[in-house]
């Protein structure tokens, strides 16, 4: 019996619940795997550290984590690796020395481009946009934002990124930050929220402030949570990858590490029905391109995740 712990940023988040579903599927397919789905209730590094300490004590075979802080978790994850536990990060990564491999849901640059494109597609004349992110220490969000900033001048010269704010994946904070954006930038045309919590909060603010049609909300969203905002027009389109596949792949990767496969640049891993990945020179790999949801398909996907 292999024990694989799926540690998430915070419990209750629909995105991670879906990932856990995928993890269970993988465990069933492989057989002989117990998945421990756990995480703190608030998205903090200290909470994750306490959990990892107890996972180490339970002698789990692998820890697959979506981290709240790339640096603060390194010491404790190193300790886990020292005790023979395989550690991978997925979704939101840990600094290289704290894990054996990292699974990006998608190519970072691609995501960075996608989130801008989602806004730009509906702004033929260009205009002001702002980003509402998760917490300021979230690795994945920061990487996407950096990629987005890089690509802006080349591909989207008419789009003007006026501000980046942080909602800490907390609905209230995200709401307040979205409001702040709207009042500080009267010409704002779009809010880009590459986080499932923030995007809902921003869409709600736009709906409440009667700005539907004036401010377009976009970013990364779970179809089931976000459907109503596509329906009411506060958002034209959002994107996301499949969280179920992400959790599924995390378990597959962990299983292979436990089985003795070594994680080194160039190594190939099979991830069941999703396919195969190859590690790059930072021992990370990316899955498929993000998938875009709009009026045409959200109904269908909202039933899945």
């Amino acid at each position: 019996q292999e024990k694989i712990a799926l540690v998430v940023k915070s419990l209750g988040n629909g995105f991670f619940d879906a990932a856990a579903k995928g993890a269970e599927n993988a465990a069933k397919e492989i057989g002989g795997i117990e998945v421990i789905y756990t995480g703190p209730t608030s998205a903090t590094a200290e909470g994750q550290i306490e959990i990892i300490n107890s996972l180490i004590a339970q002698n789990v075979n692998a820890i697959a984590i979506s981290s709240n802080d790339p640096d603060a978790l390194v010491p404790v994850l190193k300790k886990a690796m020292d005790r023979g536990i395989k550690v991978i990060s997925w979704d939101s990564g840990v600094a290289a020395e704290g894990r054996q491999l990292h699974l990006n849901p998608s190519d970072t640059n691609l995501i960075g481009e996608t989130i801008i494109k989602l806004a730009a597609d509906y702004l033929p004349e260009g205009g002001d946009v702002a980003i509402l992110s998760a917490s300021s220490t979230a690795t994945n969000q920061n990487a996407w934002i950096d990629a987005a900033k890089k690509i802006l001048p080349e591909k989207f010269p008419k789009i003007n990124l006026v501000s980046v704010v942080y909602g800490d994946d907390d609905s209230v904070k995200s709401t307040n930050e979205a409001k702040g954006l709207i009042s500080s930038f009267p010409n704002l045309k779009a809010i880009i929220a590459p986080t499932t919590v923030g995007v809902v909060a921003a869409a709600q603010v736009v709906t409440d402030s009667n700005l539907i049609g004036k401010v377009n909300v976009t970013g990364l969203a779970l179809p089931s949570e976000f459907k109503q905002f596509i329906d009411n027009g506060s958002s034209q389109a959002v994107a996301l990858w499949n969280p179920i596949d992400l959790g599924y792949s995390a378990v597959y990767l962990s299983h292979q590490l436990i089985g003795g496969t070594e994680a080194k640049p160039g190594a190939k891993f099979s991830i069941g029905k999703v396919g195969e990945i190859t590690l790059d020179d930072t021992n990370s790999a990316a899955m498929a391109a993000p998938f875009t949801f709009d009026k045409s398909n959200i109904e269908e996907f909202s039933k899945i995740y």
């Binding site: 995480g39 200290e46 959990i51 300490n53 107890s54 004590a57």
Partner: protein, 334 residues
């Protein structure tokens, strides 16, 4: 009745031996709770009784417990400091800033501890110098200290602490005994002596029981309280060094929400929130109990939030049960 006898009358020092008193004391009650929890934990999870597990468990509470020692004195003296977690954030930030200037390990530690002390002085001045109620002052400084941390760091984090700095939060003194834990035990001993065996400790109790009578008796009430605020700040600074080292990084949101956990630990340790009574032994055992509960339930993969129900219920029960018990006995006596 009213006649005055002038023959010297002997008054014994004590009616019962101090030992007997200790047997029926709060720390003993807590100790029993602790032992029971220990046994329950080892039955509930096969992983519990391993030296490394237990050692790992100590990391979850030592920093808080180190602050709780000083907080216990402060609460016994009838004050409270809710800014301790924010002091950690500010001290950690100060270390991070120093790091940017290439300060070495000894310098970092000094700056962390010193920042804590300065925050303590600030609290102490506001409370004793201006005569303000500590609970609101420290709610204010709680936002203020962490706020400074946010101003400095914003959405950034400090990382890249030098090699050697990791020893404080991650190093082991001997086998499974971590540096943090050793430090905690040493401090526990120091605070035990300070509170229970020195004039200063006696004055702390007196102030908590009756600040007016203490003042009338020549105790420099304000000064004692000021020192206690400084001590609490200092201990928070030390906790900041440990935590920063353990996390190997600094963020402004570090240790958020710890203040209430520290207070809970102190109150659970049998320190009266109204001041005047309490023991260091109790606080130490309470720290262990909180560590045991969280770790034991953690091994069963019970989320932290559910553990907090246990802690909260334990807190209310250990306070309420003696009251109910006394009441029932009184009723039975009638």
């Amino acid at each position: 009745m009213t006649d005055i006898t002038h023959e010297a009358r002997h008054i014994p020092d004590r009616l019962e031996s101090p030992l007997r008193g200790a047997v029926f004391s709060w720390p003993t009650l807590l100790l029993i709770v602790g032992v029971v929890l220990f046994i329950v934990n080892s039955l509930a999870s096969p992983y519990f009784l391993s030296p490394w597990s237990l050692s790992d468990a100590t990391f979850n509470f030592t920093e808080k417990a180190i602050i709780a020692l000083a907080m216990a004195l402060l609460i016994i003296a009838g004050e409270i400091d809710l800014s301790v977690a924010s002091i950690i954030a500010l001290a950690s930030t100060a270390m991070g800033v120093a790091l940017q200037f290439g300060v070495g390990v000894p310098g970092l530690v000094t700056i962390g501890i010193l920042t804590g002390l300065i925050c303590g002085v600030f609290n102490g001045f506001l409370v004793t110098g201006l005569g303000l109620p500590s609970i609101v002052v420290t709610i204010g400084t709680m936002s203020f200290f962490r706020g400074i941390s946010y101003i400095v760091l914003g959405d950034q984090a400090f990382k890249g602490y030098p090699a050697g700095f990791d020893y404080f939060g991650q190093g082991y003194v001997w086998w499974v005994v971590s540096f943090e834990f050793t430090l905690f035990l040493v401090f526990a001993l120091l605070y035990y002596v300070l509170l229970h065996h020195t004039n200063f400790g006696r004055q702390v109790f007196t102030i908590g029981n009756n600040p007016v009578a203490a003042r009338f008796s020549g105790v420099r009430v304000e000064r004692v309280k000021f020192i206690l605020f400084c001590l609490t700040g200092l201990m928070s600074g030390i906790a900041a060094v440990l935590l920063t080292s353990r996390l190997a990084s600094t963020r402004p949101s570090i240790a958020v929400g710890w203040e209430l956990e520290v207070v809970t630990m102190v109150v659970l340790g049998g320190v009266s929130i109204l001041g005047g009574s309490g023991t260091i032994q109790g606080v130490v055992i309470a720290a262990f109990i909180m560590g045991l509960v969280t770790f034991g339930l953690g091994l069963l993969n019970v989320p932290g939030i559910v553990m907090s129900i246990f802690i909260g219920a334990l807190l209310i029960c250990v306070i309420a049960l003696p009251i109910l018990w006394a009441r029932m006995r009184r009723r039975a006596a009638r």
